[in-house]
């Protein structure tokens, strides 16, 4: 469930990049929110909304501020209205689900996430969240089967969500590379468009990176957790800000649990930022005996120990 929180903030970035005419004020407000200055962030957002009351980004950000302030009721209202005004956007549904889940309302969270996936079948964040919500609902069903009291678990869950939300690592600092929700087939402009032919020096880092990428996907498909984890840099930024060991444990469990996994990558696009750092975007086709998902992924890769390793990994 920790990962719910980690995925929460990311959605803002995705939306921000999705909609045109990103207001500077909204960007500033997002920075204030990230810095924990809720009140200032809210003032700024309200200022934007005073002149543009329908502005989706501003409303979405306001919903986020309310969420962080613990004003769940207001946040739910805002996100619900956004789902009505923009039914094709998966993010407001996803965030509604996160709030419902934090309140222990897992059936509502499930409905919102299922809606999110219906509007946007390749939305990986919602898929992963939905997996967590199903697990939680299963746990509640088992509690009923065994007549155990499950009321406490929900409360604990909410607490950890809020804490993680505040302590989330700096996802917003990275460049806007997420997919445009409205046009999933077309990747959003990366700052420096990839020109593999032009940027490929003697060693051809482009090829090296793609090799590493394929090796990573193959190890995953073979359920070879050791090799898979070896593709991650020592200073890999875990998505939820959790300890490396903890993250590895979760990944190991997820990789070894299914009977079979197949991961294939489509349309990989490498953008170099200097000689030893690159951003790779691609569509990830994941298939196991329990789950199928097609999602967009972004890896920040760095050259370390003579090979290319993953420094950051984002989906959505």
């Amino acid at each position: 469930m920790l990962s719910l929180a980690a995925r929460f903030g990311w959605v803002l970035i995705a939306l921000a990049s999705a909609l045109p005419a990103l207001a500077d004020e909204v960007q500033d407000a997002a920075k204030l929110l990230k810095a924990g200055q809720h009140k200032q962030a809210l003032d700024l957002v309200n200022k934007v909304l005073a002149s543009k009351p329908k502005d989706a980004q501003a409303r979405f950000l306001k919903g986020l501020i309310y969420t962080e302030q613990g004003k769940s009721k207001e946040a739910i209202e805002l996100f619900t209205q956004l789902t009505k005004d923009y039914p094709e956007l998966p993010e407001p549904y996803n965030n509604l689900a996160v709030i419902y889940a934090s309140q222990g309302q897992y059936e509502k969270a499930r409905a919102a996430l299922e809606q999110s996936i219906r509007t946007h079948p390749s939305y990986a964040t919602a898929y992963e969240n939905l997996g967590d919500v199903y697990a939680k609902l299963a746990s509640q069903a088992y509690d009923k089967a065994l007549q155990l009291d499950s009321s406490n678990a929900a409360a604990k869950n909410k607490l950890s969500l809020v804490r993680d939300l505040v302590g989330r690592p700096a996802a917003a600092a990275t460049t806007a590379v997420a997919a445009a929700p409205k046009e999933p087939a077309k990747p959003v402009a990366v700052e420096k468009p990839a020109k593999p032919a032009a940027t490929a020096p003697a060693g051809d880092p482009n090829k090296e990176i793609l090799n590493a990428l394929n090796g990573w996907a193959q190890a995953w498909s073979k359920k070879d957790a050791d090799t898979y984890l070896d593709y991650y840099a020592k200073d890999f930024k875990t998505p939820g800000g959790e300890a490396r060991a903890e993250w590895e444990k979760t990944r190991r469990a997820r990789i070894t649990a299914p009977k079979s996994i197949s991961v294939s990558l489509e349309q990989p696009k490498v953008t170099m930022s200097g000689a030893e750092r690159a951003t790779v975007t691609f569509r990830q086709n994941y298939r196991s005996d329990v789950l199928k998902s097609n999602s967009r992924k972004t890896l920040v890769m760095v050259k370390a120990d003579g090979g290319w390793k993953i420094l950051e990994e984002k989906s959505g």
Partner: protein, 386 residues
Amino acid sequence: MRFWFFLTLLCATLALGGTPTPEDRLSQVFESIEANRLDEAMQRVDALIRDYPNFRLAHLVRGDLLLARSRPLQTFGNVVKTVPNEKIDGLREEALARLRALRQRPGDDRLPRYVLQLHPEQKHVLVVDAKRSRLYVFANSQGTPRLIADYYVTLGKNGIEKTREGDQKTPVGVYHVTANLPRKKLIDFYGVGAYPINYPNEWDRRQGRDGHGIWLHGVPSDVYARPPRASDGCIVLSNPDLESVGRHVQVGLTPVIIADEVEWSDAQSIAAERASLAAALEQWRTDWESRDAERYLAHYSSRFASREGQNFDAWAAHKRKVNSGKRWIKLGLGRVAMFRYPRERDFVVVTFDQNYRSDSLSNVMRKRQYWVKEGASWKILYEGAG
């Protein structure tokens, strides 16, 4: 006539194939799962829980269906939390018992070997299969039992073959319902009602078995059913099931036969056995009327004991004296019922109305005899008022 015939037929069809029971619906959920129609399975289990929110097994299945969307299942009842194993095992066993019973329901031509003859006023007989955790209700269809319903039951924590007070076992034998205790006289634990049976019967007492208070009863209001082995020896049914069974129960008349594993037979074999017993009974009747004490006593086993505890010799001496003083004896038998005893070898409980008249005494009573096969002939091991 045709109208009534069709109406009867229609009622019979409704009783068998009408509204699906919660158990039928659970079985449909499993059918959906087996056909890999998981969304349908989820809809079915959701609807089932809506109607029976206390059906814990349905919640377990729902948990599995949800968890399967998140990760692969390792087992049925894939509870992630650390919980005492026996809690989950009870539900798993219940699931197995219910599904097996539904899939192994005996065919129309299969009859329980125990029911040799029902008397006309015994409208139904209840047969419990301990191994299958199942109670079968047979209607008396002109003397032949006809299966009309069957139910999941909970039996004793420690299994069957009760011998001692407090051993938490369910007795094996031929019993009958002795009372009807309505809900308002009971605490919630017993659910919608209770029907005590006559454990320990004469045979149990003779075997030195003790204990008491073996009932058919319902479940507390916060559960739909209990695990297969959970009672202190009673036969426990879900409340709706107990109500259905209760509609067929006649206090003092309805037999309850509890077997380890029901032996199934066919009408022909049962008719042959019934004929053999009926012939022995008829011979016993005419030999008594003959006033020839030795012919009469030849029907009794040397292991015979009377209700009062007399052994064969003491009892035979008494009978010789009584019978020799009569000038004539007339004996009429009516409402004869015969039940083979589970687990025992060639052992039959025979109950009948005995109309005894002689030159010096007339007496009408209900009598119970236990007949055993010794060599090629049937002998009486016990007799007394029944």
